[in-house]
């Protein structure tokens, strides 16, 4: 590397282009390289609901942001330091997010009259001063790529399509990244298409060399590896981590995993991943709809498998009745809901946290279920295991509330050892557990474990334990149909108490307050974890003491929640909804939890929440 290298602590890069430009792939590859390089990182893919809207339009813009740093990273970054804009639409739709002084790399080939007109630019923004507060690198990316591939026997179109690899090569050079891992990736991906393999490698290298050669770039940057705990690391998205968590849980429980599901964005990838894991005994059934998906899972659980169903908000609504049945049957069931923008079809590819109340209350009658929410892409793995633990130990549906940001976002993961994962061994009941009216040993499907209140799991094929269960109210112990008023009251209470007792086996709510004297608490749940921690970190830099806490269990809450909330003068809860969890906390503990909400389809920015903290702290008087 002959050009000077400037060291950076962190950088936020956003790749943006047409849906057909391969921006998700480019981002993914850069991420892998960064991860491999040892940076900590966090990513935020963002794409339209349409598959491939007409080229060059705003609707068709797809982007991928990543934040890499030489230290612990909590969010994908509030604003990009570098924007790679492959066409005018990409520039136009992303410019608003750029802070002054940011770097913009554009493909001038695409800034022709037609494309400019498509997005309503009368004059090219490259020419009219629009970009004067940015560092602009305007290069004819497409034509350089085509030129670089002159020798290759490919159509012009195919050559053009390699421009994302050129861009990746250039950025790799700019951030002093070796391109060898991406080369390996290309070799694997195009194994059967040698022409494209060669072209992509050539384009990648051309991009790298271009940086080195051209005078456009004065120096390169280096973001050093972040200090991380010892371990073997990989980069992983939330959906993949969640899928692996389910497989690991089934493995540790000694149960077959049966997924019944119906595709829906942003949950479909879990189906895609699991359908490739048959080697682990995983059975995936793509059902005719969401109801059938959960029905299949419940049927499988009845048969002694770990029944799982995956969906997003509208699908969760459809599953409601069947989840209610599972509550009544008291069978294990894991319902993964990857939240997206609502109501109705809403914003299918955007993130939101607005299904919490649906998860808790979206069924007829008093129908309690456990709810667990992962807090980061890698935590999706652990949260999935936790959901499976609760489902199997308590014989209950558990709703695992991920969201679009966690699902598609990625970060480095310190891969756990299999033996370190919790032991979830399940034992099926094989012997009678009571005495019948006739004085003989009998099986009572609704007798309960005194500790957990879980009922026995006796599966078909077990001789002597033949029994019938259903969704009509059942007599305590025997499980026979009962319309008795006292029994109904007792069973309703038992179902509620069983869920409440899960709190016996979950950790208390931990508080992060390094200064020890905070008077303001910011509390969150789910994917706001990163932004909240980032905000606290930022606010503390300016001397604003704040405590933060994060709820991973939404039902039941940790036992010490009341005590934690009452300890602070102000409690603020940021949520990507209109205050759903805050409502629950207020009702449960009569604490004036104040909502700070945003419903924008995007995660909070750390800086935004830091401001909230500062205002709150200052509102209480002297900053300590």
């Amino acid at each position: 590397m002959s050009k000077p290298v400037q060291q950076l602590e962190r950088v936020v890069i956003r790749f943006a282009g047409d849906s057909g430009d391969g921006m998700q792939l480019t981002g993914d590859r850069f991420t892998s390289d960064a991860a491999f390089h040892g940076n900590d990182l966090s990513t935020l893919p963002d794409f339209p609901a349409e598959i491939r809207a007409p080229q060059g339009t705003i609707h068709g813009v797809s982007s991928f942001q990543l934040h890499i740093a030489d230290h612990d990273v909590l969010t994908p970054g509030d604003a990009p330091d570098v924007l790679v804009a492959m066409n005018p639409a990409a520039l136009k739709s992303n410019l608003g997010d750029l802070p002054r002084g940011a770097t913009v790399i554009v493909d001038t080939d695409e800034f022709n009259r037609r494309n400019l007109a498509k997005v309503g630019y009368a004059v090219s923004p490259l020419d009219d001063g629009t970009l004067e507060s940015y560092h602009v690198h305007a290069l004819p990316l497409t034509s350089i790529t085509v030129q670089a591939l002159a020798e290759h026997d490919l159509s012009r179109k195919d050559k053009e399509r390699a421009k994302n690899m050129f861009a990746l090569g250039l950025l790799s050079w700019l951030y002093t990244r070796p391109i060898s891992t991406t080369e390996r990736f290309i070799v694997a991906k195009f194994a059967r298409k040698p022409d494209l393999l060669a072209a992509n490698i050539a384009a990648l290298r051309a991009g790298f060399n271009y940086g080195e050669t051209t005078e456009d770039f004065a120096h390169t940057y280096a973001v050093l590896a972040a200090p991380m705990p010892t371990g073997t690391y990989r980069n992983i998205t939330g959906n993949v981590a969640l899928s692996y968590g389910l497989v690991a849980a089934a493995h540790r429980a000694g149960l077959r995993l049966v997924l019944g599901t119906y595709p829906i964005t942003p949950a479909s990838d879990i189906l895609h991943v699991l359908s490739g894991l048959k080697r682990f005994g995983v059975t995936t059934l793509q059902a005719e709809d969401e109801i059938a998906g959960v029905g299949i899972a419940i049927g499988a659980s009845f048969g002694g498998a770990l029944g799982v169903t995956t969906t997003s908000g509208p699908g969760l609504a459809l599953k409601a009745e069947a989840i209610g049945l599972a509550v009544s049957l008291e069978l294990p069931l894991v319902v993964v809901n990857v939240q997206r923008g609502g109501p109705s079809t809403g914003l299918p590819t955007k993130t939101e946290q607005a299904d919490l109340l649906q998860a808790l209350f979206g069924r007829n009658g008093e129908s309690p279920v456990a709810v667990v929410a992962p807090q980061s892409p890698t935590d999706c793995f652990d949260a999935a295991i936790e959901a499976c633990r609760i489902a199997t130990a308590y014989r209950t549906p558990v709703i695992l509330l991920s969201d679009g940001y966690l699902a598609n976002g990625s970060e480095p993961w310190n891969v756990p050892g299999v033996a370190d994962l919790p032991d979830l061994t399940v034992t099926f009941t094989t012997e009678p557990n009571g005495i019948g009216d006739d004085g003989k040993p009998a099986f009572h499907p609704y007798a309960r474990d005194p500790q957990t209140l879980a009922r026995p799991w006796a599966i078909p094929g077990t001789p002597g334990l033949e029994h019938r269960i259903g969704g009509i109210e059942k007599a305590d112990i025997t499980g026979n149909i009962s319309y008795d008023p006292d029994n109904h009251e007792r069973m309703t209470a038992l179902r509620a108490e069983k869920i409440a007792r899960i709190a016996d086996t979950i950790p208390e709510l931990a508080i992060d307050d390094p200064d020890g004297d905070a008077r303001v608490l910011m509390i969150g749940w789910g994917s706001t974890y990163g932004p909240i921690r980032q905000a606290a970190r930022t606010a503390r830099l300016t001397g604003h003491h704040v405590a933060v806490a994060h709820l991973r269990h939404l039902n039941p809450f940790p036992r010490n929640t009341a005590e934690v909330l009452r300890r602070y003068e102000r409690v603020i809860m940021p949520e990507m909804n209109l205050g759903q969890c805050a409502m629950l906390l207020r009702a449960a503990y009569l604490v004036d939890v104040q909502s700070y909400t945003a419903v924008r389809g995007l995660p909070f920015k750390g800086s935004e929440l830091a401001d909230i903290i500062r205002t709150a702290v200052e509102g209480l008087g002297a900053v300590t």
Binding site: R234, R256, T283, I291, G295, A322, G464, R468
Partner: protein, 358 residues
């Protein structure tokens, strides 16, 4: 792809009562629950037939599961001392699909009503049939919603006066056998509550079939739709109306016989006027469902003038659950047997790892 050769029977992998053990009897299949249907309900007869049939089937009781939806008929599982699941309205085939796929060692039966299976549950029914999941679906067709006190159902004849159709229902009813054939069913049959012998025969055929079997059972609801099938129960009338379907035999009723018409339909005409080359010989296992479909249309006018009874179609096609298990088994075998901790560790790590401090 390591698909195993197709097992030949619907109960191929279900453990049987071992030789020498005392055979099970009707009482072994009778649960301790009081039966709560109305006096005279056709469901009693079906239950009795089932309790007689199950011991004949020779399977271990604990390996039999009945799954139902909601409706009078759907209370069926409670009265059998097997495993049972009384689920929610219309969704029984979904639970059965999950169970049958997870467990090849079970004989899985679905009990459903005409509302449960064809109104709210129509979609699950047709998908279970096209997938050919190895489950046996018994559709108790009383042409009415019994449990909700007598509204017309998707099989009620047009013009049926009920609480919700005081001026007569307007919908054209489904012919369940036609629906099933249009949905790629591999086994479709029809029988009747009151004909214990025929019912039992059909249950045997269904149980033997490897794949989804739809059995329509005409069932009388004395409270809300009494006598809907009386013309088939009166000996004399039945003789003229019922066309017993027997594989390899002519389709006929008394002195009438089924003939294939020029327009592709099947008509029932006096034998005297039938051209011999036109007479329909029933064949349950023709690959093409067209003949079975044409037969199914004989009842579509709701008059019960000509009612084929028996197995319309029974063909062999890989079952969904066998195929699913086959793919999984092949993957497991191909990977060297049940996944170990090491296999899982390799999965979790993936191909692109790096090591810190190691």
């Amino acid at each position: 792809m390591g698909m195993p050769t197709m097992p030949s029977s619907g109960v191929a992998f279900v453990p049987r009562v071992t030789e020498g053990a005392t055979a099970l009897g009707r009482k072994d299949f009778t649960s301790d629950q009081d039966v709560r249907w109305c006096p005279g309900c056709g469901d009693y007869a079906i239950l009795a037939a089932m309790q007689g049939f199950l011991p004949e089937l020779g399977l271990r009781r604990e390996n039999i599961v009945f799954i139902s939806g909601i409706g009078c008929s759907s209370r069926f599982p409670y009265y059998l001392d097997t495993y049972g699941l009384h689920s929610i309205h219309g969704r029984a085939p979904t639970f059965a699909t999950g169970l049958a796929t997870a467990r090849e060692d079970l004989s899985v039966w679905v009990v459903t009503g005409d509302g449960d299976s064809l109104s709210i549950g129509g979609n699950h029914l047709i998908h279970a049939l096209r997938r050919n999941v190895n489950i046996k679906i018994l559709l108790f067709n009383n042409e009415i919603y019994g449990l909700t006190k007598g509204q017309y159902s998707p099989t009620s004849r047009t013009g049926t006066v009920t609480k919700s159709s005081p001026l007569g229902s307007l919908d054209t009813p489904f012919t369940p056998v036609s629906v099933a054939l249009g949905a790629e069913a591999t086994f479709v049959a029809r029988t009747m509550d009151s004909d214990r012998k025929h019912l039992t025969e059909v249950l045997h055929a269904a149980a033997r079939h490897r794949g989804a079997a739809l059995v329509e059972i005409y069932q009388n609801c004395p409270i809300f739709n009494d006598g809907a099938f009386d013309v088939l129960k009166d000996r004399e009338q039945a003789a003229a109306r019922i066309l017993w379907l027997k594989d390899g035999q002519e389709v006929s009723a008394g002195d009438q016989v089924a003939v294939r018409a020029d327009d592709g339909s099947i008509q029932v005409v006096p034998r005297a006027t039938a051209s011999p080359t036109r007479i329909v010989t029933h064949s349950v296992d023709t690959e093409h469902p067209s003949s079975a479909f044409a037969l199914s249309r004989l009842t579509s006018d709701g008059t019960l003038a000509h009612v084929p009874m028996g197995v319309f179609r029974q063909i062999s096609r890989p079952t969904y659950d066998d195929s699913v298990r086959g793919q999984v088994a092949a993957a497991v075998d191909g990977g060297g047997g049940t996944a170990t901790d090491a296999d899982l560790a390799a999965l979790l790590a993936g191909r692109d790892t790096w090591t810190v401090g190691g």
